[in-house]
């Protein structure tokens, strides 16, 4: 005799209120065990809910767009025989604890749900033939507290294969969690994390190997060092980025002249040297940009020197060497020094001192492309200038469109120190310097 069973959403792990994005069956459809019934989409993944058994769909209880959680009814299924409990999702966060034998057990009437209508039919039900999953490993001799042992059981982790990091080799809760997350996350956990203790939720671990082949490669030394610093700045500094454009048509013509001459002497004159000189002039005009907050954040420390950081892309990661006393150096000298510094960066011959003491940083992606970006302030500096590739654009000169070489500038700044109007003035001033070569040279 056919009986109607309500099929509901099984345990989804941590998901709740997940939208239904697709329904694969309609009333009257015949489905087999494990056939997909509906697809749910969380912010992390899409999941098919499989049919817990064979039968005919009698009635749908959901429509596309509904938000569902564990236990939400999906449909009524006419089944032959007894009601069944949904098997576990195939796309679950937890490691599977059921094996084939247990699935067999789940499908047989032994696990009928409370909602099953044919309660009296259960009296004297058929014998069951489920297979014992076999006991998991004993933890004899393992140094782990009862709570840690239980966690390991829940996570299906054999503690005898784990070495503990606690006192006297005790396996701690962290060891168990680390072992389950895998080596990549384990390594990350040991790196100095800027977020540690900040109360910021960790990004949940994912087993990517479920979705395709993966390979774990450790971060480079530079990345391991720069990552936490960038994270620290990002979390501490309220960032605003201000964009503007400078007409560098004349500047570029001048630069090309100098560059041609320089090539003969074995160095190059790039836009960067001009940007540095212009920045120093702007810093002089707007001293707040050459300041830092005191640790108590109740005062500004104004600097009487002009050292500029220059972001350099290397195969190992981002490096920011510092060019000292830019205010006392001319374009030629700066160009030579930039060339020498770049060579040392590429050879990995920088001293720690070469990376310290910057007042302001310039990050140039002009050699690559782009239209704008948001550089991260290199705290405790209060601003950073980003530049991307200049391009020829039609500019209205009052009577006609003329082709001009325009350089996009993106200034990110610490809003605790600098407000928007000041930043706009700073960038405009910078643009005017770059547009009027005479002012720059003065």
């Amino acid at each position: 005799m056919a009986t109607a069973t309500e099929v509901s959403v099984p345990d989804l792990g941590d998901f709740a209120d997940v939208p239904v994005i697709e329904i694969h069956v309609a009333p009257g459809d015949v489905v087999n065990n494990e056939d997909p019934l509906v697809t749910l989409e969380s912010d992390k993944a899409t999941m098919d809910i499989p049919s817990p058994g064979a039968g005919t769909v009698r009635e749908l209880r959901i429509k596309v767009g509904d938000l569902v959680s564990r236990g939400s009814p999906i449909l009524l299924l006419d089944t032959e025989g007894a009601a069944v409990e949904p098997p576990p999702l195939t796309d679950q966060q937890e490691p599977p604890v059921l094996d084939e034998g247990d699935l067999a057990a789940a499908e047989e009437p032994a696990r009928r749900s409370a909602a099953a209508a044919e309660t009296h039919a259960a009296v004297g039900g058929p014998p069951v033939t489920a297979v014992d999953s076999g006991p998991p490993a004993d933890f004899d001799g393992v140094h782990a507290s009862p709570g840690v042992r239980r966690l390991a059981r829940e996570l299906d982790l054999d503690l005898t294969t784990l070495s503990g990091t606690g006192p006297k080799g005790r396996i701690t809760k962290d060891d168990v969690v680390g072992a389950v997350r895998g080596p990549a996350d384990g390594a990350a956990a040991t790196a100095p994390a800027a977020a540690a203790g900040a109360g910021i939720p960790e990004v949940p671990a994912q087993d990517f190997s479920k979705f395709g082949p993966v390979e774990v490669r450790p971060l480079t030394r530079i990345q391991r060092l720069s990552g936490p610093a960038l994270h620290r700045s990002w979390l501490n500094v309220p960032h605003v980025t201000h964009d503007d454009e400078a007409d560098i048509t004349d500047l570029d013509a001048y630069r090309r002249e100098l560059d041609t001459a320089a090539k003969a002497e074995g160095y190059r004159v790039t836009l960067l040297a001009f940007l540095m000189k212009a920045s120093v002039s702007a810093l002089r005009e707007f001293p707040k940009f050459n300041s830092s907050l005191t640790p108590e954040k109740d005062a500004l420390i104004y600097k009487g020197y002009y050292h500029l950081g220059v972001a350099v892309d290397t195969p190992e990661g981002l490096v920011v060497p510092v060019i000292r006393d830019v205010d006392r150096k001319g374009i030629t000298e700066l160009s030579r020094e930039l060339g020498a510094t770049s060579a040392r960066v590429r050879e990995g011959k920088l001293d720690p001192a070469d990376l310290q003491g910057a007042c302001f940083t310039i990050s140039s992606l002009g050699g690559i492309g782009g239209t704008s970006f948001t550089p991260i302030v290199n705290a405790p500096e209060v601003a950073i200038l980003g530049v991307v590739r200049s391009k020829m654009a039609p500019v209205w000169d009052g009577s006609a469109f003329v082709p001009r070489l325009m350089l996009p500038l993106s200034l990110s700044y610490d809003h605790r120190v600098i407000d928007g109007a000041l930043a706009a003035r700073f960038v405009r001033y910078l643009c005017q310097l770059l547009e009027d070569i005479r002012r720059l040279v003065l």
């Binding site: 009437p109 696990r111 009928r112 009296v123 004297g124 140094h143 009862p146």
Partner: protein
Amino acid sequence: MENQTAEVLVLGAGPGGYTAAFRAADLGKQVVLVDSGEALGGVCLNVGCIPSKALLHAAKVIAETREMSENGVSFGPPAIDLDRLRAWKDGVVGRLTGGLATLARQRKVSVIRGYGRFTSPNQLRVELAEGGEVLVGFGQAIIAAGSEAATLPFIPVSDPRVIDSTGALELGEVPRRLLVVGGGIIGLEMATVYHELGAQITVVELLDQLIPGVDRDVVAPLAKRVSRQYEKVFLRTSVAGVEPRPEGLVVSFDGAKAPATDTFDRILVAVGRRPNGALIDAERAGIDVDPAGFIPVNKQLRTNVPHIFAIGDVVGQPMLAHKAMHEAKVAAEVIAGKNSYFDVRAIPSVAYTDPEVAWAGVTENEAKAAGVAYGKGVFPWAASGRSLTLGRSEGMTKVLFDEATGRIIGCGIVGPSAGDLISEAVLAIEMGADAADIGLTIHPHPTLSETVAMAAEAFEGTITDLYLPRRP
């Protein structure tokens, strides 16, 4: 009553059964709990642990008031009103079992009073206490059928003067001369009660020490005290026969120091407990039951029939309520889909005698037999200020450690409140504590709990409350 179905059927409502039922219900299962007793709680609450502790408290009060007379505080001889004592004991039991009924109701666990037997792997037939029968179909089951007092073929159980622990707890009358057959925990606890109520006690034990299984030095203070208090304690002695006569029960002994025969007013048979695995038609469900009546299970408490679990006395020794309760949670959690596992490191045992005897983990006897390299720290309570102020000095705390790592592997304690002191050692074993961890933990002074730390210090060689010759 109509036939029923259960997602989870629990057979037996002792400490294991009710714990399993409640845990399964809390994990969202629809639970039916079947028990043949008048009240929930099984042997432990109704005719075991709890009523015996009530009577042992009475015994302790009698003993302490008597002993205090030597120290300047004298009372008259106790006037014992057995009816009131019994009513108090029954009141304690009633309060606890009533509490269980409330807990079951709050969890919507449906309780069926009656004797359950399997008819198939998915059905139980219950002979209702109120008459008639009911069938319960179930998805999964937990057998918590417990145990009953073992009997001896040559002792006539039909004679009302022959009682088991249940009969002893009924407190019908205090015999003039009581023979306790069996020198284990149950026999000695009942002997403690009846001794203080005025009976002359003889204990007969087949093996060569009281409470076999515990280290001899741990039992020694108890053995010494009872041999002084009781009429006779016969070791390596068995009862060969009992002849009921109007004037008394004539018992013939087989043992070197025992007389050929002696006559007693009552006999308490306390020779262990027999599991009830063979009394529930388990074979109709396809469940294996061994010849002794135990149901074999794996460490998730699963029987050979995967959807049927068994816990407590019916799955094996030690037959202790606290073991059953922990097994119960594992079984209920496994049924609810959790990957739980019974892998405790130690199960404590306690004899609530006077003095109490408690032990956990590896005993010295076991360590020797297994060839374990162990060291021990012993603290005699004669050096404990707290013990002396209780008027007692015979206690001892002995802690065993892994010789190589210093990690605790076992503990034996004898003395007043030993049963409460053993928990620290069990926690230490579970946490893998070593002697320094225990010794460096500040224990309040003066307490009996200090003796655990002192024993650890004795092992470490850091103790100052004793003078021990320097360790090589």
